[in-house]
Amino acid sequence: MHDLIQYVQSYLDPNVKVTPGAAGNMFWAFVYIMLVFLGLSVAVIAMNWLERKILAHMQVRLGPMRVGPHGLLQPIADALKLLLKEDLIPAGADSFVFWFAPFIVVLAAFCVFVVVPFGPQHAITDMNIGILFMLGVSSLSVLGVVMAGWASNSHYPLIGALRSSAQMVSYEIAMGLAVISAILMTSLNATGTGTLSMIGIVEAQKAQGEWFIFKFFPLGLIAFFIFAVAMVAETNRAPFDLAEAESELTAGFHTEYSGFRWSLFFLGEYTAMIAVSSIAVTLWLGGWLRPFPNLLNSPTWDTLFSYVPGATFLFLAAICFYNVARMPKHPYFRIQTMGLGAFGAALALIGLILFIPVVSVRVQDIFWFTAKVAGFQYLYIWYRGTFPRYRFDQLMHLGWKVLLPLGLGVLILTAGVGLLQIKS
């Protein structure tokens, strides 16, 4: 028993500056896995609500308003509804493959988070092949899509699956080229060797004093742009959602799915969105680094920036309280008002906890990473509200004839400029 406590405590030693996986501490690795899993589930629920509300406000509607104050409980109600629905397996479907396909999508999406660095030591593990692992595992989700489409034994899902596999395989190439040009930038140090490790990539950005999006302007920006387009295509989201285009294919590869298994596809899609956004954040936007870590590095700025997480939550709480004051004063709305007030109070409590110095020092890396990823999630919703859907030949044209040559050009130019910099 004593040994066990010592084992658990050995990781909390401030001298340990590595991830639990790299330190070989099973207990904390398990705790981190659970935390990431919990955080992702909450994030998917929040995304569901936010997507509906933001899309609604973009179209000058109100969105969900009835279930809970401002529809806050709507995702939970939807999840319950999906769990209670009948789980259909169509006649003639290949039942094992049909049963197994959604799990592949979800597993591939969640496995990626093994190497995502939320902070210099806040990752489950740090692999030598981090980014390669991420790209590889996230590309496995296409297998789930293809299996789902084929096993349904129906025309729309099959066409959706074929479209989706062609699209994902094509855009993976452009994505890989953009990633390689970012990895090349990590080798611009004294030793001349780069790294594939996710934590190493962010450390390289810190050492070189700029995010890779601004490196060799505009080369880093173009590479980032290629990745930002390819990642939308990779996750089958609007405007590249041809695999589930409802006007052409009803719902694409998951037409025949219902209930729990449909919700697994939904979970997988949103987790994959967060996963590719975290790749983009890690490679180009400085990962967990706060804005201007080198320029404004006096202790005053450090303390000032450490207040930002708490202040953000207090700001959200203030919005809640403002809306509590705006609620109709009719007795019918009493429970809704109280619920909104309680939600605001919870947010304010979290904000106040984040002001405690011990907590804020440990949490601010995670906060900055999450904030950047959240920005990407907003972009995804914005795209969906703005862009019309591509036609399939246009999609292939964009992938193979625009993004691929552009990516190759950026790669060659990055290598050339980097060589010049090393020479001088």
């Binding site: 070989g24 590889g136 297998l143 994902m168 790294t195």
Partner: protein, 169 residues
């Protein structure tokens, strides 16, 4: 970090690979075969990790499981396999194949039982942290020409595949 419970993971992964391999060559449905092959390939990627070859493991996942097998599944969906499923699965010379394979297996067993002492017992350890960097140094240094020839091979393969699969050239 050093690997833990090596025998357990080795036998687990080996069993997965062998069952997957058997399913690949016995399944009636080509899609089921492809899925079994994917399981085999992923288990093999884990075996590579156990052998301190993380870069090859990553390449195995991204190229084999994510690239080649998707191509296989794509083609299986393009061709109509319903007829092939109703036909006889094994050809008429299947017993010749089995005998040849058994002979080959006997050869393997003979070689490995005779040559057991050749393989050193103690395995020298390689630092895992530098694997990718060292592979890159070798690949772009000593094996430069082989690497270029491989890229030429891929170019030829792309052109060949396009010529074969296109209806009218």
């Amino acid at each position: 970090m050093t690997p833990v419970a090596t025998p357990f993971f080795f036998y687990l992964l080996a069993a997965t690979m062998l069952i997957g391999g058997i399913l690949v060559i016995t399944c009636k449905n080509a899609v089921h075969s492809a899925l079994a092959l994917i399981v085999t390939l992923l288990a093999q990627a884990n075996i590579y990790l156990m052998l301190y070859a993380p870069f090859v493991a990553g390449v195995q996942i991204i190229l084999y499981a994510g690239g080649i097998m998707v191509l296989f599944l794509f083609v299986i969906m393009l061709v109509n396999i319903d007829r092939a499923m109703k036909e006889r699965q094994f050809n008429s010379q299947w017993w010749v194949g089995i005998i040849a394979a058994t002979a080959l297996g006997g050869l393997f067993i003979a070689v490995y039982t005779k040559g057991k002492s050749i393989f050193p017992e103690r395995i020298p350890s390689i630092a895992e942290g530098e694997n990718t960097q060292r592979v890159a140094t070798l690949l772009y240094g000593q094996y430069m020409f082989a690497f270029e020839i491989a890229s030429l091979l891929l170019l030829v393969a792309i052109i060949g595949a396009v010529v074969m699969a296109k209806k009218r050239i």
